[in-house]
Symmetry: C2
Subunit: 437 residues, 2 copies
């Protein structure tokens, strides 16, 4: 059996490893366009903040895959065409064809670049592959003024990185809040935190990027900002070109539609990772939320099934976390806005709590927004912000939502308690009381 | 309606508050033997460690209950007899009778004192009510050598407190490991950590406590230890005397048997808090694991039902957490030993992991022991030790166990990930992979 995997990121390499483990005699080829495999774009902001070279972002070195796992790994090999039964690859200046019996599309996602004048000037960057980290680090050395366009996760994390390194940072966001995929109560807490460290411009739209050769300023519909370095972080799009060549069906999100076995609409063609949709377990609908943990698991599932096994990826609940300096921010399930858009009749609670019992030193603030379905009392989503234990509470909600728990189930969760860790009535439990059951 | 509640701890006061909220015209009397209500024995080790007075341990001051909630609170009022329809109370030097239509026994648990010579010497303490904290703090001022008998939670937490305050601490434990209710792999990690700060004597039995008036030394079957202060932490027993007077049935554990409504075997007599059993959701059997969060919830449930409502306390999974200096230790569900005793055919995994991705600064070690039922693949229990995120992972397992999740469900949990928080493959997910599904 000849397996071809396009893309050597997390999803692709996990699948390749799995297939080789289950079918040691199969020929498994991976074509990766860059010189990195098993890479982690989510680490790029931290390569900037802590100033380490991009090759540290790789989880495993290429040798591991080649020598230990017997994968036929082609680096700097770009698949320029995908056809029924073969792919056309550009590698080492040559164009070659490779046949496949089973194909996995794991081409990931790429940053969107808005059609604005000046985006191709020197020192205008996006966050995509590990080498971007090195280019940005290099450019950051002489940059005093940094403008970040977009206050989603990448924008927020980059704003932390550059402000931690002493740059004068301006963040420009079109929406009227940072982290536009959060409800306003939580976004408001993020706004206050960000404004202490950066110049946050909300409801402002970029019009042009200007400069001779190198960027000098960013022009918006409301002002002009000096910029020695610009980071475009306005979102990502799935890399579906090859899938489209094969006639693979895309979902409403624009990413590849797959079933639980990670099969696409075309026989023997699978998709996994940031290029693929997944089922949202709250709505039952396919969504596109490209994140590393589900990307890895999709790769695992695709690998097992491509190797003749049978395993289903059940779906996701959209669990996410980020931080801006000391403030941690997490979410899982649906926001109130999303739940209403999905047609749920919702009730929500917003609570402020301390992270420890009153007498234990060092308690910090935390904020929870929790949304329930009025008809069933089922927890639809939760957002958590605060200065510690945000990952913990977001995960508690994530598991509870995955278990389809109601507010009553939530109230009766048997969670950890000891004075150094939490209050006796954990804020999660309190939110269940507030939401009633 | 006349409600009498015996015991003003967490369970009793939660019930009293609930009844008054639902039935504002009912007469709700609480009799509390001490001068503290809503107190937290779990805070006593920290009152020692951080040296603050015991009244800070109260969650709410008595006035809150009396003035805001209209509870007829009797402090320093000991119920010396409970009879069908009335209780006999000793208060202010007088003995009085009070009638009840509904009675809640919330008398809690008290430390066991082993029948050893010298336990009544000066400076020999147990950890029970808040005033103990003040007495121990006072005695600790002049104490150089502290001996702690028992290395359960209280023993471990007191060992932290005294060693943090610069005392020379000896901990004597009969079992061959600290935290005897953990499996040996995790206990071994605790042992190593404790031995860096205290003299830990395992498999050693106390024989006598000696001294003129004041304690001077502790004698065991294997040695003798100088002691200016001795702390007995060998476990607790439920305070069931009044329940027994009423003919209330006790469970196998010796604590009061209750149903999900917190009703005892005697009509109109309820029990809640540390004196009552609860159903273990893994085994379906009644167990006695007296801890504050379930005690509070039992009080809530008893209060609602006593006030004419109908709500069931579903049970517990035995979630617990503690720490010794930097090492955090949590558990939920059954240990491997317990699962085998319960007749499960088990498979377990013990894994060591880092708490963050490899390139993010400050990753720490964490250790997981996870137990599954071989027949159903259901997660039966988990124990977590480590230097951060132990509460988070213990809670993830707690919710997963409460949801009766299998290893496959666990593998597909959609948990938070970002480089500052966790590795991409969270150790919880890794444990599911190791346990197979």
């Amino acid at each position: 059996m000849r397996v071809v995997i396009v893309g050597g990121g997390a999803g692709g390499m996990t699948a390749a490893s799995r297939i080789r483990a289950l079918k040691p005699d199969w020929d498994v080829k991976v074509f990766e366009a860059s010189s990195f495999v098993s890479h982690a774009p989510c680490g790029i902001p931290y390569a900037i903040e802590f100033d380490f070279p991009s090759d540290e972002l790789m989880y495993y070195k290429p040798e591991v895959f080649v020598k230990e796992r017997g994968i036929d790994l082609h680096m700097n090999a770009r698949v320029i065409e995908a056809k029924d039964g073969y792919v056309v690859v550009e590698e080492n200046g040559e164009v070659k064809e490779y046949e496949w019996d089973k194909l996995l599309i794991a081409t990931g996602a790429s940053p969107k670049v808005p059609p604005v004048e000046g985006v191709d000037l020197e020192n205008v960057f996006t966050v995509d592959l590990p080498p971007d980290a090195d280019r940005i680090r290099e450019a950051a050395k002489d940059a005093e003024n940094v403008v970040i366009v977009g206050a989603g996760y990448v924008g927020v994390e980059m704003a932390e990185a550059f402000s931690a390194r002493g740059k004068k940072v301006t963040v420009i966001e079109m929406a009227d809040q940072p982290l536009p995929n959060f409800d306003s109560e939580i976004a408001e807490i993020v706004r206050k935190e960000m404004e202490q460290k950066v110049d946050l411009r909300l409801g402002e739209k970029i019009v042009a990027i200007e400069g001779k050769d190198r960027v000098e300023r960013v022009v918006t519909d409301r002002g002009e900002y000096r910029a020695d370095l610009v980071l475009m972080a306005v979102g990502v799009k799935p890399n579906t070109e090859l899938a489209e060549q094969l006639g693979v069906e895309l979902g409403e999100s624009g990413a590849i539609k797959v079933n639980g076995r990670m099969e696409t609409s075309v026989e023997n063609v699978y998709a996994a990772g940031d290029v693929a949709e997944a089922k949202h377990l709250v709505t039952g609908k396919n969504v596109w939320i490209p994140l590393a943990p589900s990307g890895n698991k999709m790769g695992y599932v695709a690998g097992v099934n491509m190797a003749g096994g049978n395993i289903e990826f059940p779906g996701i609940v959209g669990t996410q976390i980020t931080k801006f300096h000391e403030l941690q921010i997490g979410r899982t399930g649906l926001t109130e806005r999303e739940a209403k858009q999905e047609g749920f009749e919702v009730k929500s609670a917003f609570i402020t709590a301390n992270t420890k019992v009153h007498y234990y030193p060092g308690a910090k603030k935390t904020y929870l927004k929790v949304v329930k379905d009025v008809k069933t009392n089922r927890i639809l989503g939760a957002q958590v912000a605060g200065y510690e234990m945000v990952a913990m509470r977001t995960n508690v909600f994530a598991v509870a939502i995955q278990a389809q728990f109601t507010t009553r189930d939530l109230f009766f969760l048997d969670l950890v308690y000891a004075p150094p860790f939490t209050p006796i009535w954990d804020p999660v439990i309190v939110s269940a009381r507030v939401l009633k059951f």
